[in-house]
Symmetry: D3
């Protein structure tokens, strides 16, 4: 019988699971299986197993704060619980997992609800890459009857903008499509920029798809509001303690398949958008200034710092 943790961690590493939410769910489910099958003789042993599994998942991808925060929550619940019986502790894991997932769903709903209020009639929204949190917000706004137009960047090298464009067209929204370097050309007609987040740092910066920080700079230059739409649990507590978000560098083949051999192709997946270019983070707590994100986390999810 295969080890669910090892198997899932490998799938995450190989990018067979993608998207912050899917990665978190996969890890949570592996933890549940681990708990169901455990033969640990004592709470101490069980905790050792859980911690080892957590570390395996932490090592599977350079950053995945949502997954990491889910694992932090699960392990911390077991640690704090006074129950000694391992089987009963396994039940705690199920509870914590369910709670995490239902809260995540609830957060998405709240974010869409709050953010949709910021979409004005007849406005032009620009977005970069594909973020289900952003498209969720736009769907909500559309269902509320708001008319708006969207500009999608193609988002090289993997063209995630095509996914965004298709979703918007299905929604019946007028959709424009441009190359990434045409953002500044159109910025003066844009009313609002919305992007997702891969991670949020303790300084209030946002890690997102390569090019996001340039979109933010260009929006800033034109006095166009720029908002990040994200669950708070994308916050990465490691940034608090000095670790830079490591920027994953992906395969050169994504950029140029038959490139000359001596060519050095650099393919960073993300960049860092400074808090000063971000008008607000639209999250389940409402719309907040990124500068106070650490305090928001301490108030709302103190366990991520444990």
């Amino acid at each position: 019988m295969s080890d669910p943790v090892q198997t899932t961690a490998k799938r995450i590493t190989r990018l067979e699971v993608q998207g912050a939410r899917n990665v978190a769910i996969a890890a949570i489910e592996a933890m549940e299986i681990l708990a169901a099958r455990t033969e640990a003789p004592s709470k101490k042993d069980f905790l050792r197993e859980l911690t080892k599994a957590k570390e395996t998942f932490f090592a599977s991808r350079p950053t995945e704060p949502l997954m990491r925060n889910a694992l932090r929550l699960i392990v911390s619940r077991v640690e704090k619980n006074e129950e000694k019986n391992v089987k009963k502790l396994a039940g705690i894991i199920d509870q914590a997992s369910s709670q995490f997932l239902s809260e995540l769903k609830e957060s998405s709903k709240k974010i869409a609800e709050i953010g949709a209020r910021r979409i004005r009639h007849d406005s032009v929204i620009l977005t970069h890459c594909h973020s289900s949190t952003v498209t969720g917000l736009l769907k909500r706004a559309k269902h509320e009857g708001k008319m708006f137009e969207v500009i999608c960047t193609e988002t090289r090298p993997v063209f995630q903008g095509q996914t965004t464009a298709k979703e918007m067209l299905e929604l019946g929204v007028k959709t424009n499509f441009i190359v990434d370097s045409a953002v500044r050309f159109y910025m003066n007609v844009v009313d609002l920029v919305l992007v997702g987040a891969d991670a949020i740092t303790s300084e209030g910066n946002v890690i997102n798809k390569i090019g996001t920080s340039t979109v933010a700079l260009v929006a800033h230059e034109a006095r166009t509001p720029f908002y990040v739409v994200s669950e708070l649990l994308k916050f990465d507590p490691a940034t608090m303690y000095g670790d830079y978000e490591k920027i994953e560098e992906r395969s050169p083949h994504e950029i140029w398949k038959d490139a000359p051999k001596e060519l050095v192709i650099r393919n960073p997946a993300f960049d860092v958008t400074r808090r000063d270019f971000i008008h607000g983070i639209i999250c389940e707590e409402g719309i907040v200034s990124p500068h106070s994100i650490t305090e928001v986390m301490h108030r709302k999810y103190p366990w991520v710092f444990e």
Copy 2:
């Protein structure tokens, strides 16, 4: 016998001739053939023919200042000449054409020579798109024995950055290749940005491949020097008299071949880089501030204003 002007103009319109220099040469050669074959009975008639040809070429592409300036020079030389004999006037055209082409060649050489002095040992140069003036400058610097590294953007949608990258590798220069939206990620290690120009306006702004203005903004944000490398004859006198440089919009197929039908793909070929982001224009007259470009033209090429 086909009409050389109509034929060439069509090839220009269909983009069968590309590159500012090649377009100018094609038009000049057509004018020479026209002159050789003319049967105009008088100077007045000959000038009418020339003017009609000039207008045909002007209409063949929204902007091509180098070609337009070449035609301006040729027609003006005939107008001003006191000769009345049409055959002899045709000779004037040959002279003007030769002079224009040899001056253009001379300009390229001077620009490479002047610009190469700005390349410092061990420096990192970033360039966007492909410009033979820029690569000429870098070749000169390399041949002078300077060691440097180049970062090329891929330049969507037509990937002209691949041409630049290949030329640089052939030259033996260490070459890095990135997607357009990764420029800001690497800007802090760049020592100098060099780009070409499709046109220069009377205000001192520069029209160049889409994305150039964003590279300039990003360089400005990081205090990295940004230079335009261009012959002065890219100056477009029409901008003087209120005409915006019309920004050509090219086929959506360049961006997404099998796009959904309702999708609006916008594909502007160029954008405008404001003079305030340009440290200097490296041209045949030396390195000048773009703010005084109109006066430089009045001093050096007064005939473009005629």
Copy 3:
């Protein structure tokens, strides 16, 4: 016997009551009368009455966060109280009202005290519009023996700057008076800008009289400190949940009485000053960065989020 809530709400709508503080007091007093006269048979019915009254007042003006927060406090106190007797609950309202008003008074005093320490001898203070919180601060500074000079803008269209100027002259302060568009002309001699607030948003932005954001931009350009002087209860929790502060648009007659018929006169009463132009908010909690305003509110007045 007239309905005190309806009557007062109408007076508020018609601008017969003006100034955030006066509006809040009027609504509070109407709630007290309502409570004194109530014939509600049960707590549940009483709460229904109160909630209806609250909604009537919320609808009377697009934004009035101070009034709204007062009503939030009053209703919440009744809700949370374990008392079932309606008459006794009415007493709770009196207590909450008294407490709100005395805290408001106390806040004003503290703000004046804290802010006055920032007034330096021989300094020049610029203010826009009329804010009793700002003039209270300046009076305190004057009474402490500080010498300073004030520049008041006239504040079109309703000339509230004249009120400020008169108050300053009565105080014996040297007072200068300028048109709104002369602020930049004098900014280089200004040492400190102080303005009030109509509302504070969850992102840390400040809504105040039209023109305030321009004063802030001009101060920023000249490196002149710009402070907002305001009670924290101007914080509007609705902004947290995605509602833009709706900007009230007032009568065109305020701007041009006998204007041509086809003319579109736009008369927004307020504008939004971004947190990045605000050095600090001088409030009853001390001088704080606007970027953390939501967390300050959560710590100091958690009931506004209920």
Copy 4:
């Protein structure tokens, strides 16, 4: 018989003649009368009379570069002419005057023609104060069939914006009217800002109605193009030689009629817009960068430096 120079100069001082063009015309006409009536026995005496008259006009208002340049041209023509006969020299004045006026008219026409090309279909143009050069340009654009919308500021203290608004309505243009401090509120929907000039300095700065520099700053913040529309002869050569443009301060009664006595009302008529906020000067020479204005003047009107 009254002295035409003294009489006209007084009318100019008392603001009975207003508008740069009208003031220049009045002074020119007085010079013509002076010349027609002169009894000067020699060219030297005649020149003395002319110079005295010139100085009288120069003293009549702190700045009026158009008038001053007209007088400079007239006196210089007489000085340089080899004619000794005073009566014939008086004729030179008539010629110079006519030429100046007809060139001025020609400039207006060219400016309107050049500038109108910059008005795009369906664009929103903001203007401050009233400038006949700006409204001339807009009329031309309208007559060419372009559809656009205008936003006029009221322009305190003298409400010149009302004149602009009326002219625009007569033209059949959709016209919006706002207080001066609402410019930033609307700037994000503005496509182009056009203002006139009272004077242009040798550094390339523009002196115009108080508030213009703030409009420019606000346009700059929002990346909205800001153009000055002006004849080159508004250039003031005195700024070349170190004289600040003296900023005229007008009557306090314009701002507040029955103000308290101790109040210091400051009423500067103009402010200085820095060249870096100006995209271009639309003038009879085309659209030029303000940074090179001195060289443009040396090329086009060298006599202003004499």
Copy 5:
């Protein structure tokens, strides 16, 4: 027997004790002696003695937030303790002192650990003045095996940069040394700026050695990250309540020993770096945005506000 409080306070005033940490330690030790020797008959009398001592130390130097916070802690611990016996209360002081000192040491360690993670291999670090917190961080990074280069400013007038340079050389780090005004010359090759803090204000600004704010501005201009490395207890709660950090002005002799008599030598010891130039504060709580510093303090050290 001399009064330990008076004696120590005088030594602090005369700068015989220097460095925030040393000053705090000296004051704490004097308080311990005071407590050991006290003959106060009651808790009330003892508290009066302590308060008087506290005020003596507060008056000894214009700002020393670390010392002030230490004294605040000690006095507050005694006040809150229910013990009435004076001798036993003296023991409380020893405990509080020990705790403060050991926490301070612990903070230093954590800061070094967290900050060292931000030092990248082969990076160039610029620092201004001498800060033991900064050099502690660099030592830690070096001991972890990281290779980096340091640029030290000389830091006029007292040349503290020489101390920093010597420490770095002893550590075996490649060290460059420049005059203060050469910072901008080298900023483009700097990867990270690290400075200490003398005080942190409630707005999130940082008071540090004169010149720090200019280094920050220059770093900002070149997009170079700028971090403050400091214990949170440098936070000065007085700034909360409106007191400007008074900027100490030191002896003119430090600048020019034999200056001409009439010369006015100004020698401010510190300047204020605005929060917007600070990427983060590296403190014992992790890396935080300075904008939320007051809330961090309320969470971590609430007693400083008592």
Copy 6:
């Protein structure tokens, strides 16, 4: 008999002659002696001697544009003169030298006259380093009866600010003296910054004492006007043709006499102030925008480009 050219060139190299003007005068005088003593048999030989001398001087210091322009003028005058007689040609050198020196003197006078008009009553002027052109301007203003105050930076490492301070005190001007890094501390009270120039580049940038560019940045941040006071002949035509102004690096002993051996002391003498921070260049032609400096030179001193 020693070679006057070699001797003088060595004195220049060893810094025994300092100050742009003194260096130019020394070189001119050596050329006059060379001409007086020449035994060249023909014009061609004489020109060869002159050119060799010119090159010797060019090699004596990395940049000295004033000296270089003087030598350019002298040699060009001989070349162009039709005279063949060597003795008579030597006279041409005397004439050219005299003319150059008298024009330089005249320029100084004009600059002082023009610049003094910009000094306002009761204003505060900040200057960096020592420039005789700047102090000449201030002397003129003082003699015209203007009252003003001066702030001098000490200008590390060689303390040239002490010379400026002494000159100002002798003039009877209230003089303040600060360390270089305190400029930002005082910038908000400064009305005008004036600095000299060592060289002006074709892009319009100014090379001046290390620290000047930081003063300019700080002035820009506070909207304080920043002017360069300089003769046009500081323009360096080599910058036109791609040569960077080489920044001289001086002895480390100027900075730290007994520094640790391993320490790398960097001592660049100058830095580059970008044209965008310079409001104007106050020169003999008036006050001009630096952006058009090349065209000003072409108009006024075309021979520097030969």
